[in-house]
Each structure stands twice: as C-alpha cells, then as structure tokens.
C-alpha cells in the first residue's frame, strides 16, 4: 500500500495539475473551496475559477450556460447539495440538453462524520443514476481519482463525480495490470466463490474483506466498480456466471445505487443471489467518520458478513 490521501485532495491537486493542459477547463464552487479542495485551482487559475456563493442551483445552471459556449465546467459542492438541492438543475439544464458538465459532489456518504445526517449524501448515486444519459463515477482512491479527473475532462457529456472526505488507502497504483477507463470495472483480486462489487472507499474495505474470507476458505473476487453508470455489464455478468453470487458494497443507501444497478441488470439477464451492503435505508448520524462507518457496518467485517450470506444463499441454505 502506498500511503493515504482523501479522494477530494487528490481531486483538487489533479484539477490544478491538468489546468494547463486543458484550457477549456473551468471550476465553479459554492463557497466550499476549502473543503472541496478547489482552493488549489482557485489560487493558481483565478480567471478560470468562479465562486458562486451559497447558491448551488445557480452555480449548476451557470455551468450549463458556460458549457454551451465550449468550456468544460466542473461544479463543486457537497454531494448532498450537488445531487439533491440542485437535482432539477442537473436534470433539466445539464443532462436533458446533453451538456458537457461534470457535477462534483464532495463529502459523499456517511464518512462526512460529525456534520451528521443533513450533510451525509446517501442517495446521490440513486438520484444521478436515474437521469437519462448521466455518467456516475466514484473513484476508490487518490490514484484512481487523478485518472478519473483527466478522463472526465476528456469525456463529452453530463457526468457526476463523487469525492469522499476521509484519507483512505491508495491501492490501485500497485495493482497488477491496472488501467482506468470510464465504464470499465477493474478486477483487483480474483476469486471463485463470491464476487464483491464495490465502489469508492468501500473498495479497499472489500480487499480486506476478501482477506478475511480467504482465511475462512471462501475465495472472493473483488471488483472496483468506479463507474456506476454506465455499468460494466460484461464484467458483472462474468462475475455472476463464474462465482454464482454477488455482494455489492457502497457508502450509500442500499436503495438505488450500485446495488440497485447490479440487481436491475442481473435480474433480467442472469439471476443469482445479490446481497447489497450499504446504509440500510436510514439517514446518517453524527460521529467521527470511523465511528459512523462502524455504526453502519461499513467495514471490511461488514462486507465479509454479507459475503457469507451470499454464499449461503447460493448454496440454498
């Protein structure tokens, strides 16, 4: 493992590093530049940074207008506001006219910690995924985030990118044969009994879960599904066929996110047991991020438990 960094930090650094190479890139924020980490970009490229104040709906539509003129805007605020408060702006002014804007939701999931339920987005994937033509991406570590940022700058269309607050392990930089492509999941570890399909900071947790399971004689495949939409259906189908059961894992409600996407696909294509791991359709709560994750069972042991369930279901127990 090569150290720890929050994906929001890696994001902020990547934006700044890529600014020179991509002159069409502009960055908008809603008075959260110090938290979303657009502050680095703002400092280096003040003419391409637009602080819209505490007005997320307005920011989102300003970005839409900028995109019509050929700029590539990245909008920034907390995920709960990006996907929630400005939902209809994303829907009607960015996605419907197919505009080239990346909507960035920082501080996704419950790992926001102390701020509590009002600031913990647990339905942002569901909201963004339900919009036709929207790409939804949630990188699992700082290394992957850097690659995702450049891929999204080059992507032409409406997209949602989720960042997370806590510093987490970097695992993809040393993963064998790792390459990043939007819409293509990555097998980080092979296995034959069950496949854990995870996204965001749940990916490193899933790798640890696989180690726990391995000690029990359960061979778990781990897929890093950084792009939730469009879903890498080929990889999901292969996992269902080869391992016979699936666990989905995300720092999101079990309703409508990665778990929803995998179930929707497999139920009509190749039904196998799918156990969804995430927040069980309840709001978040305050606490340190580690305590909150523990409270909701978003831990390697939590994932391992779901994997045991999936294997039992497969065996008909």
């Amino acid at each position: 493992m090569a150290g720890k960094i929050a994906t929001r930090n890696a994001y902020g650094e990547a934006l700044t590093e890529l600014a020179e190479k991509y002159p069409q890139l502009v960055v908008l924020d809603a008075d959260l530049a110090n938290a979303t980490m657009t502050k680095f970009f703002a400092k280096s490229y003040p003419d391409r940074f637009f602080d819209c104040g505490i007005a997320e709906a307005n920011m989102t539509d300003i970005a839409a207008g900028m995109a019509t003129a050929g700029l590539k805007p990245f909008t920034n605020t907390f995920a709960v506001f990006a996907a929630g408060r400005a939902y209809e702006q994303v829907r009607n002014s960015i996605a419907y006219p197919r505009l080239n804007v990346t909507v960035v939701g920082s501080h996704g999931g419950v790992s926001v910690g102390e701020d509590g339920a009002t600031h913990q987005a647990i339905e942002d994937f569901a909201l963004m995924r339900a919009i036709p033509g929207m790409l939804v991406c949630c990188p699992c570590d700082g290394h992957e985030m850097r690659l995702a940022v450049e891929a999204l700058i080059n992507y032409n269309g409406p997209a949602y990118l989720r960042l997370e607050r806590p510093a987490t392990e970097i695992i993809t930089d040393e993963a064998e044969g790792y390459t990043f492509e939007l819409g293509k999941g990555v097998v980080l570890r092979d296995g034959t009994d069950v496949t854990i399909i995870a996204t965001g900071i749940n990916v490193p947790m899933a790798v640890h879960a696989a180690e726990i399971l391995s000690a029990e004689g359960i061979s778990a495949r781990v897929i890093d599904m950084h792009t939730i939409k469009p879903l890498d259906e080929e990889l999901v189908l292969k996992a269902a066929q080869e391992t016979g059961c699936i666990v989905t894992s995300e720092e999101h409600s079990v309703v409508g996110g990665l778990g929803g996407a995998v179930c929707e696909y497999l139920s009509g294509k190749y039904p196998v047991p799918v156990v969804r791991h995430g927040v069980n359709d309840v709001f978040g709560r305050s606490g340190t991020y580690a305590a909150v994750l523990e409270y909701f069972g978003i831990t390697p042991e939590g994932i391992a438990g779901k994997a045991r369930e999936a294997v039992s279901l497969k065996r008909g127990k």
Binding site: C52, N58, D61, G65, T68
Partner: protein, 281 residues
Amino acid sequence: MDQIQSLKLTAAKARLLAVDAIHEAKSGHPGGSLSCMDALTALYFHEMKIDPANPAWEDRDRFVLSKGHCAPALYAVLALRGYYPEGDLKLLRSIKGHFSGHPDMVHIKGVDMSTGSLGQGLSCAVGMALAARTLKKDFRTYAMCGDGEIEEGQIWEAAMAAAKWKLGNLCVFLDNNGLQIDGPNDVVMPSAPLDKKFEAFNWNVITIDGHDIAQILDALAEARKCSEKPTLILMKTVKGKGVSFMEDQVGWHGKAPDDEQFAAAKAELEAAIAALEEKGE
C-alpha cells in the same frame, strides 16, 4: 418601409404564426407568447449578431427564453428569421416532430438553451455571459424572463451573480404582463417594485412599453453602453397582445383557441398585417 414599421409587421406575422401553431397543437401558452413577441422580434431582426445559415456559429449572440413555456413565440420568430420553414411549426407539441412544448436546443436550430423549468434560464444566461468573458469573445447574451417566473428564488441568485461579475454583456427582458396562471401577480405573489429590486441588486434598469418597438430599440442601444452592469429591460406588456379577446385575460395563459376562436384571432391578426403592409407602401 422604415425599420420600425418593418419590425411591427414581422411581429404581427410572428403572432399569427404562433397562435396558428398553438391552435394546431390544441395546447400551449398564447398569453405570454404574445406579450413578449415585440421584444423577440426586435432581438432577432435588429439587435442580435446571428447567422441563421450557421446556427452554431461560436461568435453569435445568444438568447435564452427563460420563460420557456412561451416557446411558440421563439419558434415563430426563428422560423421567420430563416432557421427552418414556417410549416415546421405545424409540428409544435406533436409526437411527429421535435418542436417540444418547451425550447429544446438539441433538436431545434437556433435555440441556444433548453428551458422550461422556470428560474433556470437566467442562470444559464449568466453562464454564457461569463463564458464570453472567459473566452475573450465579444458576443452578447440576451434573456427573457416572466414576471411570474421571478418568484423563483434562483432568479435572485442569478441576479446577484450577474452583478458580482459586472456582466455588461448580459441584457435581460422582464415581460411584465402582470398575470400568471393562478391570477394577477399582485394576488399570487406581489413582486413590486421590480425596478427598485433589480436596482438594489446593482443592475442597470430601463423601464419601457414592451409593445413600442422604438422604445425597445432605444433600450437595447442603451444597454450596450452599460459595460459595468447587467441590464434589465423592464417591459410593461399586455398578456395576449394583438388578439383582442385574449388581451389581459388570465384564462389565456395556457389554453389553445378552438376553431372558432382561432378564426377570429386569425382575422384580427391578418387585418393588422394588412394594415401594416398598406402603411408601409
């Protein structure tokens, strides 16, 4: 024919085209389409730097119909300006075509922004004006808001932002016909004094009669001179203007004329067109 006469004639023709399309579609919004038609005509036939043969021209001026339900007005003016044949308007709101109930920039030539959800278009226009500045281009951005629409809070977010960035390249019409679906603005949600509110938001405000072409042209010229502030042209208008039985009637906000009503509206508008043509000769 002098320029003002010519614009009046074009506006009259656009009114007939829009009402015809709404009648054909059996639904739509005639009231607000008719109240903003003179300003739209002045924009597309006098003010804006555009090229109908090249609708995606990067340096063109932009227009955002923030009150998107008045799409028939925009579609009619774009047709008369040569973006597509007038006959295409027969497909307004039809499953057979792409002339949707609200403007669709993906499918309709000349539409610069998809709108319809009230309160969003002005922010998009702010984004276009900011883009011009960022890209060091001199195109101007125009928008049309409704006086019911400004009840949306986002309008005021956009108004603050436009003033923050001193967007002198942004000029917005406010179609103040005084009526919205549920009744008079003053009853539904009193918004006066609109001029003072926008002035307080640091806008350059010009109040005019929105059916007086000369006043519209003067206001547009004055707006160009104001480089440090966005301009709001607050136009007093009559909802349903040009069709006597629709004028100032809230019931004509979102209702199509039946065959008999359309025949009467058509006769009135054709008479207006004939009178303007005669005057111009």
